[in-house]
Amino acid sequence: MTSKPKLAAQPTMQPRPLARQHRYITWLSLSLMSFLALMVLIVYESRWVYPEIQAYFSQTGSLTGQQLSTRARVYLQDAQSELLSDQPEQEALEAATMDIDLAYGLADMHIYRREYACAEPSLTELDRLAALLAARDIDRIAAAMALFAPIQCLTHIEMDQLDRRGAAINDFSESTRQHSLVLTYSSLLIFVMGLLFWWLHERQLRRTDRATQETFEWMQRAMRDPLTGIGNRSALHQDVLAKQHQSLGLILVDIDFFKQYNDAYGHPQGDTLLRQLAALIGKTLNDKAQLYRLGGDEFAALLHCPDIDTLKSYCHQLIEGLREADFMHPAHPDKKGVTLSVGGSCFVADEATFPYAYEAADKALYRVKTMGRDGWQVTEDA
């Protein structure tokens, strides 16, 4: 009698409660939003830095890439070279005048006039010099000397503009450092928040799964008889519903004179007998049946039953199996061992047919009891 009775069918898993789903979806959303915010921050910082870099470091070759004052100064120095060169006076003066005009055009800037006091007098001086050169009314050396003042002014502008550009670059550098710090700490914070939210999501998920598992186990226990480990009445109903339209046999088993057995041996021994009988019924029915304990000393077996003869065969096997097991029953009125009354019926599983099948099997059982117990009957027209 070591065979273990087949347990009732497992109940199907229920979906997670909606409120819990919403809760961990929220954590998940927060986590994803954090990582999204991190991406947005990085993209924003990149977009901020690029134009600034372009503004300060990508001016080479453009109109204002080299300072206008620098270019003007170079033209004035070229004019000095032309004036002091050995070339014929006409050519030298024309070349110098052209250089002065170019310098004038480059230096005649609103911003220079506004920001530098020397700009206006220098432009006036260039004007005067150009007129004198055109009239050939100035010595070449004197003209070259006269260009020193505008050159000095342009050099001053050049240096100041360089200082300003340097200061602007320093500001940009400092600003970049600040942005870098903000980016580093912000991204770190957001990343940690993202991880935290993700961890909360995972924790919530685990809790939900655990709760589901507990609910599942609780449902399993609710469907099982704690003494024998086989299914209970609820499990029987559920299994019948799960086998809709199948041809099934229902066998009801009642232990004869079980009260007397308990009175003779005590309830603990009675419980042992119940466990032994559950195992015996399972073994006798070749583990093909699902077993249930319906009440104190009443069992039920649900099995595949293509015809009534198969059912009769199972009932017969049960009685014979018990006789072979020969359980002692000192209080049996007929001086026998433990005996069973067995009733059965066949039916096509359905929610509506099961009550009739149960009633038919119970009637068969009742007939056995009225006929003196220790036997089996089946109702053929259930």
Binding site: A55, S62, G65, G105
Partner: protein, 166 residues
């Protein structure tokens, strides 16, 4: 100053006027001598567009704030896109500019009616001194910061030649 000086001979007055005229001519001569035409280069062909012709075809006058001069300026010029089509048959994908100050640059995106080739300013023809003889400006530069001259890098000055880059 003495009395003699106040009563100069007719020949002296003529001589003074001649000197004044020479000064005026002398001031403008070097620049104008150099900058009398705009070279339009298309492959191996160089077409010289006389500045007088350019002035004649400058049919648009508008006023805008010139950030380099820091004031409102009345400019007269020709729509650059139309000018390119007239010169090259169509707007080239890129143009290589050479300026009188030897500045050179190649820029794209000239199929834009916003650009004008300006040859006069406040009624006066542009000279080297006024960053001429021709200059490119944007008639509408939106809300760009006029204090930041880097925003106006494409306003090419002192244009000497324009070469089509196909």
């Amino acid at each position: 100053m003495n009395v003699v000086a106040l009563h100069r001979s007719p020949w002296g007055r003529v001589r003074d006027r001649l000197a004044c005229a020479l000064i005026v001519v002398g001031i403008t001569l070097p620049a104008t001598a150099f900058a009398q035409a705009l070279n339009m280069i298309n492959g191996d062909v160089t077409q010289k567009v006389a500045l007088s012709d350019l002035h004649a075809m400058s049919d648009t006058t508008f006023t805008l704030y010139d950030p380099y001069q820091g004031r409102e300026v009345e400019m007269q010029g020709v729509e650059f896109r139309a000018f390119l089509i007239e010169q090259f048959g169509e707007v080239p994908p890129a143009l290589h500019f050479t300026a009188w100050d030897d500045y050179e640059v190649t820029l794209e995106g000239w199929d834009d009616p916003n650009w004008y080739l300006v040859s006069s300013e406040d009624g006066d023809p542009l000279t080297i001194r006024t960053r001429g003889p021709v200059r490119l400006v944007e008639r509408d530069y939106g809300d760009r910061d006029v204090e930041n001259l880097r925003e106006f890098n494409d306003w090419i000055w002192m244009i000497r030649s324009i070469e089509a880059k196909w």
